[in-house]
Every structure is written in structure tokens, then in C-alpha cells.
């Protein structure tokens, strides 16, 4: 079946602009995770949803970052007033449910802030 998909695959934006990154999880997966990966580093947790609600948003770096999952499926990560330091690959993962279950990752969105 289809895996996790993310759009766009690449996004270039100017400093100060607003961006939205989209994630389509595997159908039926109730848990959805956002991570950020900088060059040469492992993914770092941002936020996780169980269903429609954000169960843990402790990884969001500041209040410029926000994520939603209004119908418990597709999720959007929103970044306001982008800064050059926001440049990274943003990864989305889903799992059947939260807990000790495999997380399946999407290909990521490469965000470049100029």
C-alpha cells in the first residue's frame, strides 16, 4: 500500500515568510509525528499527534511553529516568520498507534530559507 507522503518535496522561501508543509500518513495510522533533520544529524522530534490532538508538542522550538491534524489524518506543519535557521529537512512519520510500534517515515520536505 501507499506509504507516508509529504508535499512539497522542496520549498525555498524568503526570510520572514510563512510556510506550510503537508503530511499524508499511512491510512489507518492514528499516531503521526513530525521531526526535523539538520545536515549530518539524526532526526529531532517536534510534535506528535494521537488522533486529532497534539499529545506532545515539547519539541517545537518556539511559537513560530505550529501543527494541526484536524480530521485525524492529514497534518500540516506551519512555520511563521521563517528564519534562516529553520532550513532543514522536515520529516513526517506515522504508526499504527502510539507506544512501542514502528514509525514509518515519509521522504521529507527540504526547506530552505534565504
Amino acid at each position: 500500500g501507499a506509504g507516508v507522503s509529504q508535499t512539497p518535496s522542496n520549498k525555498v522561501t524568503e526570510k520572514g515568510k510563512y510556510v506550510e508543509l503537508r503530511c499524508d500518513p499511512i491510512s489507518g495510522h492514528t499516531a503521526l509525528y513530525w521531526y526535523r533533520q539538520s545536515l549530518g544529524q539524526g532526526p529531532e522530534f517536534l510534535i506528535y499527534f494521537q488522533g486529532t490532538g497534539a499529545a506532545d508538542d515539547s519539541g517545537l522550538p518556539n511559537d513560530r511553529f505550529f501543527a494541526v491534524r484536524p480530521e485525524g489524518s492529514v497534518s500540516t506543519l506551519k512555520i511563521q516568520r521563517t528564519e534562516r535557521g529553520d532550513s532543514a529537512v522536515y520529516l513526517c512519520a506515522s504508526s499504527l498507534k502510539s507506544g512501542p510500534y514502528e514509525q514509518y517515515f515519509g521522504p521529507g520536505t527540504r526547506l530552505t530559507v534565504t
Binding site: 549530518g40 544529524q41 532526526p43 522530534f45 507506544g99 512501542p100 517515515f105 515519509g106 521522504p107 521529507g108
Partner: protein, 111 residues
């Protein structure tokens, strides 16, 4: 919290040989461990996982060993092939919390 470290940032192995990638974690209550493979330009790909009630698990050409006493995890890849060249990450979870990733080991297979 949890921190995860890998012992070697790079590893080169002759094609056909076995490779071992190591990882250390800090939280003794961590209960779920995953190894991921990441190729350039792609998201992490699941290789194998292990729960804390086990100390060894085998897949196709891969074995994960978990030593909870010293909080150490390893991934063994048998008979390495050129397609095994990638960055390998261990990831650790405690309860319902997020995965914490190590910094990765870049495995290069020498033909």
C-alpha cells in the same frame, strides 16, 4: 529524558564481510529500540526493532542485540552488499514518548 550516541560516525567494510554498528543510550527505562537506514535524499527506512523484554532479534541478514545492563544496542549486517551503503541511525523510545535518534553512522561498502 533520553540521549543516544553512536560509537563511530563512519565505518568502511569490504563487500561480503559482516559489519557491526553500535549505539549507547542513557535512559534505563527505555523500552523500544529501532534501527533505521537512511539513503541520501530519502527518509529513514525501518530495518529492525527490538523491545526491552528481548536481548536479540534477527531479520534478513540483520541482527539486533540489546544489552540493557550497559545500555548498549548493536546492529549486525551479514554479508554486506553495495546497497547497504547508507547512514544508519538507532532510535530509542520510552513509553509513549517520541523517538530519540542518535547522530548516525555512515556505512561505506568497499567493492
Amino acid at each position: 529524558g533520553e540521549s543516544v550516541g553512536l560509537h563511530l560516525p563512519t565505518l568502511s567494510v569490504q563487500e561480503g564481510d559482516n559489519s557491526i554498528i553500535n549505539c549507547a543510550y542513557s535512559n534505563s527505562a527505555s523500552d523500544y529500540f529501532i534501527w533505521y537506514k537512511q539513503e541520501s535524499g530519502k527518509g529513514p527506512q525501518f530495518i529492525i526493532d527490538i523491545r526491552s523484554n528481548m536481548d536479540k532479534r534477527q531479520g534478513q541478514r540483520v541482527t539486533v542485540l540489546l544489552n540493557k545492563t550497559v545500555k548498549h544496542l548493536s546492529l549486525q549486517i551479514a554479508a554486506t552488499q553495495p546497497g547497504d551503503s547508507a547512514v544508519y541511525f538507532c532510535a530509542v523510545k520510552f513509553g509513549n514518548e517520541k523517538l530519540t535518534f542518535g547522530t548516525g553512522t555512515r556505512l561505506t561498502i568497499i567493492p
